[in-house]
C-alpha cells in the first residue's frame, strides 16, 4: 500500500482534518466566553480590528463564534455519518442473512431509496422528526444510509462468491456467522474508507440544512446557522458570511481529499509503467568472441530490483537459428523476467545488466533508440500466456495484424491486408477471411493464441519468445499450438525461447532444455537426456515428481521437501554464505554446497551447476 500522505492532495487533506479536529477540541474552552458575550454597543458591525469578521445582531464576535461552532458542526456530522453508515451496513447485510423473499424486499427498498434524491429525503425526515439538530442529524443519516447499503450489498456479493464462503457453506456454518466472520471483515476496509468521504458530505449537508433553517436552532449555533444569520447582510458586510462559509468549505475539502487519498492508497494502483534502464555489466572481459551464427546470445544477464532483490542472476543463453530452447522452472525462478529482459520489457524500477545481449548479430544496448525499436519490432515475436494481453479487444483481428505491416514495413493497406489473411491461413485458422473480420472475444482461446503467433509472423521474426503460451489452454489445443510453434520455427529458421513450468511440455517440444532455480541456471541439457540423463538433483526430482502415463501407480510419487527461496530471501542469504540455493532441499547436499557451484561442462552439450553431479 502506497502511503496516502505521499501525495500533496493527501497531505493537504490530512492537515485540514487535523486542524478541524484540534479546533473542535480547543475552540469552545478558549473562545466560548467571547462567543457568548453580548455587547449592545457593537451591534451589526462590519470587519474591524477588534472584530475581524464583524459582530452579529447582539454584538457577539463572529470570528469567535465560527471558531466555537466547529465542535458542534463536526460532532453533528460525525453522528449523522455514523447513523447513516450503521443503518446502511445493516440494511446492506440483511439480504444475505434473511430468508430469500424478505431479503429481496430489503434489496428492492434500498434500490428505491438510492434513486430517491438525498436532500429531499433528509429534509422530509428533518421536518417530520421536528426542527432542530436532532431532526437534521437523523435526516442526513437517512440520506447517507441507502448509499452505504448499496455499497455493502455490492461488496458482500463479491465476497460471497469466494471459495472460502463456499467452503463455509459446505461446513454448515450458519449464514449469520458467515456474515460476521467472513464477509464483514473482508469488506470493512472499503466501508471505512467511504466513511471518511461521507463525513465530508454530511458536514456540507448539515451546514446546508442549518442554512435553510431546518437544522440547528438558536441559541445553539453551527457553521450553517452562522451562515444563515450573516447571509442577509452579505452585500453590506460580506465578512460576516464569508467566515462560516470558508470554515465549511475547508472542512468539506479536507475530509474529501483525505478520503480520496486513503481510497487511492488502498486500491493499490501499480506505479506507472516505465521501462527499466538497460546497463552493461561492469566487467565484460573474459566473455570470449561472440558466437557468429547465434540469433540470441546473452551473457551474465542480471535483473535487479531495489533492496537487493535479484530475481535473475548471471544467466547465459545462446540460441541458434531453427532451435527451440525450453526454459523451465517453478514460479519465482526468474524465467519470465529473463524473457522480459531480452524483449526490453522489464518494468520500472527493475535494472537489467548483462555482459552481452546480442540479437541478430548486434548488441541491443549499443544500438541507437530508433534502430533498437526497429530491430525488436520486426525480428522479435512474443507470445504470452494470455493472448488477450497482446490483442486489442476493440479492434478486428485482421486490422490488428495488418497494422504490423503498415507500421513496421511501410506496406500499403491492401498489401497489409493480403499479408494478414495469408498469415492467418498459415497458422491453420480455417476461413481466414471470415475470422479477420471478427473481434478477439469471438474467438476461442486456442484461436486467439494462433492469431498472436500469426501477428509475430507478419514481420520476419528471427527470435520467438513464447512465455507459457499453452498454460491456459486445454491439452488437445495445447498439442496443436506446440505443433504450430515447431512448424513455424522450422519454416522461418527463427530461434525460439519457450518458457514453461511444465517440464513434460518442454520435453515434448524443445531441442535443448535450460533449468532455472532461484534465478540461476542449474542445468542445461539436450532434450534426449532429460528423461534419464539429467545430472542436477533438482532436474532429476522435477522429472521424477511428474506423473506421466507410465508412472507406477503402486508407489508414491517423488516429491521435493521444502520450497524454492524467494528472491527477497536470497538477498538476505547473499550477505552471509550465498551457497547453492537448492542445498536446503537436496538429499545429496554436503558441506561443500555452502559454496555456490559454478555451471560447468558435463559431457557433450550438457552443463550443470552441482558439486555432486
Amino acid at each position: 500500500m502506497r502511503h496516502p500522505l505521499r501525495t500533496s492532495a493527501g497531505l493537504a487533506g490530512a492537515v485540514l482534518v487535523a486542524l478541524m479536529v484540534i479546533l473542535a477540541i480547543i475552540g469552545p474552552p478558549i473562545w466560548g466566553a467571547t462567543a457568548e458575550r453580548i455587547d449592545s454597543a457593537a451591534i451589526l458591525q462590519g470587519a474591524s480590528a477588534a472584530h475581524p469578521l464583524g459582530t452579529d445582531n447582539l454584538g457577539r464576535d463572529i470570528l469567535a463564534r465560527v471558531l466555537v461552532a466547529g465542535r458542534l458542526s463536526l460532532t453533528l456530522a460525525l453522528l449523522a455519518t455514523l447513523i447513516g453508515a450503521g443503518a446502511g451496513t445493516v440494511l446492506g447485510a440483511l439480504p444475505s442473512v434473511l430468508p430469500r423473499r424478505l431479503g429481496r424486499l430489503v434489496t428492492g427498498t434500498v434500490n428505491a431509496l438510492v434513486a430517491f434524491p438525498g436532500l429531499l429525503l433528509s429534509m422530509f425526515i428533518a421536518v417530520v422528526t421536528g426542527l432542530g439538530a436532532r431532526g437534521a442529524v437523523l435526516g442526513i443519516g437517512a440520506a447517507i444510509a441507502p448509499g452505504f447499503a448499496r455499497l455493502t450489498q455490492t461488496l458482500a456479493a463479491s465476497v460471497a462468491k469466494a471459495d472460502y464462503v463456499a467452503a463455509a457453506r459446505m461446513l454448515r456454518v450458519p449464514r449469520r456467522r458467515v456474515m460476521t466472520r467472513h464477509i464483514l471483515p473482508n469488506i470493512a476496509e472499503p466501508l471505512i474508507l467511504n466513511l471518511t468521504q461521507a463525513l465530508g458530505g454530511a458536514l456540507l449537508a448539515l451546514a446546508g440544512m442549518s442554512f435553510l433553517g431546518l437544522g440547528v436552532q438558536p441559541p445553539s449555533f453551527d457553521w450553517g446557522r452562522l451562515l444563515f444569520d450573516g447571509f442577509s447582510r452579505i452585500y453590506a458586510t460580506p465578512a460576516v458570511a464569508l467566515g462560516p462559509a470558508v470554515a465549511v468549505a475547508l472542512a468539506g475539502i479536507g475530509f474529501n481529499l483525505l478520503g480520496d487519498a486513503l481510497a487511492n492508497a488502498a486500491s493499490r494502483k501499480p506505479t506507472p509503467a516505465r521501462k527499466a534502464r538497460l546497463r552493461a555489466a561492469p566487467d565484460t572481459t573474459g566473455l570470449g568472441e561472440p558466437a557468429p551464427e547465434a540469433v540470441l546470445e546473452v551473457r551474465d544477464l542480471t535483473v535487479a530490483f531495489p533492496g537487493g532483490v535479484t530475481p535473475v542472476r548471471g544467466l547465459s543463453l545462446t540460441i541458434a537459428p531453427g532451435e527451440i530452447i525450453g526454459l523451465v522452472g517453478e514460479s519465482g525462478s526468474g524465467k519470465s523476467l529473463t524473457a522480459s529482459a531480452i524483449g526490453g520489457l522489464v518494468p520500472y524500477p527493475g535494472e537489467v545488466s548483462a555482459g552481452r545481449l546480442r540479437l541478430c548479430g548486434a548488441d541491443v544496448r549499443e544500438l541507437p533508440e530508433a534502430e533498437r525499436r526497429k530491430l525488436l519490432g520486426t525480428s522479435l515475436a512474443m507470445v504470452f500466456q494470455d493472448p488477450m494481453a497482446s490483442l486489442n479487444p476493440a479492434l478486428k483481428v485482421g486490422g490488428q495484424l495488418a497494422e504490423v505491416a503498415t507500421v513496421h514495413q511501410g506496406a500499403s493497406r491492401a498489401e497489409a491486408r493480403g499479408r494478414a489473411l495469408d498469415r492467418l491461413g498459415h497458422v491453420h485458422i480455417p476461413e481466414p477471411a471470415r475470422r479477420a473480420r471478427q473481434h478477439p472475444h469471438e474467438l476461442s482461446g486456442g484461436m486467439r493464441q494462433r492469431v498472436v503467433i500469426a501477428m509475430g509472423l507478419m514481420g520476419s521474426p528471427r527470435l520467438i519468445i513464447a512465455d507459457e503460451p499453452t498454460t491456459a489452454l486445454d491439452v488437445t489445443v495445447q498439442r496443436q499450438i506446440l505443433r504450430l510453434l515447431r512448424e513455424v520455427t522450422d519454416e522461418t529458421g527463427a530461434a525460439t525461447l519457450f518458457i514453461s513450468h511444465d517440464i513434460a511440455v518442454v520435453g515434448e517440444l524443445c531441442d535443448r532444455v535450460v533449468v532455472m532455480y532461484a534465478g540461476r541456471v542449474v542445468e542445461e541439457l539436450p532434450v534426449e537426456e532429460l528423461a534419464s540423463g539429467a545430472a542436477h538433483p533438482y532436474t532429476r526430482a522435477l522429472v521424477a515428481s511428474l506423473p506421466d502415463m507410465e508412472t507406477d501407480r503402486s508407489r508414491p510419487l517423488a516429491s521435493i521437501p521444502g520450497r524454492q527461496p524467494s528472491p527477497a530471501e536470497l538477498a538476505e542469504a547473499d550477505g552471509t554464505a550465498g551457497g547453492c540455493a537448492f542445498a536446503a532441499r537436496c538429499e545429496l547436499a554436503t558441506a561443500r554446497c555452502a559454496q555456490r557451484p559454478p555451471l560447468v561442462d558435463h559431457g557433450k552439450a550438457h552443463r550443470v551447476a552441482c558439486w555432486e553431479a
Binding site: A162, D163, Y164, A166, A167, A168, R169, M170, L171, R172, V173, R181, H182, P185, N186, E330, S331, D474, V475, T476, Q478, R479, L482, H501, D502, I503, A504, V505, G507, E508, V527, E528, L530, A531, A541, L542, V543, A544, S545, L546, P547, D548, M549, T551, R553, P556, L557, A558, S559, I560, P561, R563, Q564
Partner: protein, 230 residues
C-alpha cells in the same frame, strides 16, 4: 454415492447433461475433461453449491466436502489457519485446539502453524490447510477440484501422495477432478471422461487409459505431453 441423471442448467445453457456416475465406497473416481466440459459444475452440484435436477443418493450430502483449485482463494485471508481448520467443528473450546492439532498433523503440518495467516504459508502448505478444513467434517465423500493445478510441479507430487495416503487412512471416497489425465490416472481407481456436459466414457483406470473406447478419450490420451517424445 450414486449420482443419478444429474443435470445442471444455467438459463438456456446445459452445463451438466444427464450424468449418472457411481462413486464406490472408499474408491477414488477421477473425472477428466477440458475447460467448459462441466466437470467443475458437476463437483459443485454434488457438494450442494449449485441447484440441480436428478438425484445424489447413498450419502448424506452434509458429509460431502470439497477442496478447491486455488488455496489462496479458498482460505479467508483474515482468518488464522487454526480458525479456518476449526470452522466446521462443533466442539467446546478446550477440545477444539487438540482437534485442530490432530487435523494439521493428518496433513503433515506442524501444530505451530495454527496461529499463522494464509499469506505466511507456501502454496503447498495452504492446500494442505484447505484439505484439513475439509477433513474436520469427517466427510464420506471428498470432492477435489483441480487441487494441484495452482501448485508448483515440485509440490504437486507431495499433495497427490497426501491425498492417496489420507484415503488409505480415513477410508473416504473421492471425486478427483483434473484436466491432467496423467495425474488422474495416477490417483484414481476409476476414470470418468466428460465432454460438453456429458459423460462419454467410464471404467477402471487401466481399461480407460489402456483401451479407450471413445474417440474423445483417445484424443485426450494422445495429447498428454510426454518427456522426450518427438
Amino acid at each position: 454415492m450414486i449420482i443419478k441423471n444429474l443435470t445442471v442448467r444455467f438459463g438456456a445453457f446445459t452445463a451438466v447433461d444427464d450424468v449418472t456416475l457411481e462413486i464406490p465406497s472408499g474408491a477414488i473416481v477421477g473425472l477428466v475433461g477440458e475447460s467448459g466440459s462441466g466437470k467443475s459444475t458437476l463437483a459443485r452440484a454434488v457438494a450442494g453449491l449449485v441447484p440441480y435436477t436428478g438425484a445424489v443418493e447413498g450419502c448424506d450430502q452434509r458429509r460431502v466436502q470439497m477442496v478447491f483449485q486455488d488455496p489462496q482463494a479458498s482460505l479467508d485471508p483474515r482468518m488464522t489457519v487454526g480458525a479456518s481448520v476449526a470452522e466446521g467443528l462443533r466442539l467446546p473450546r478446550a477440545a477444539r485446539q487438540a482437534e485442530v492439532e490432530r487435523l494439521l498433523s493428518l496433513v503433515s503440518l506442524p501444530a505451530a502453524l495454527a496461529g499463522r495467516y494464509p499469506r505466511e504459508l507456501s502454496g503447498g502448505q495452504r492446500q494442505r490447510v484447505a484439505i484439513a478444513r475439509a477433513l474436520c467434517a469427517r466427510p464420506e465423500v471428498l470432492v477435489a477440484d483441480e487441487i494441484t493445478s495452482a501448485l508448483d510441479v515440485s509440490v504437486q507430487g507431495a499433495v497427490l501422495n497426501l491425498v492417496r495416503s489420507l484415503r488409505e487412512e480415513l477410508g473416504f471416497s473421492m471425486l478427483f477432478i483434473s484436466h491432467n489425465l496423467a495425474v488422474v490416472r495416477y490417483v484414481s481407481d476409476v476414470v470418468a471422461v466428460m465432454h460438453r456436459g456429458r459423460l462419454v466414457e467410464m471404467g477402471p483406470t487401466e481399461d480407460v487409459v489402456g483401451t479407450p473406447k471413445d474417440g474423445y478419450t483417445r484424443s485426450l490420451i494422445d495429447a498428454v505431453p510426454r518427456l522426450g517424445r518427438s
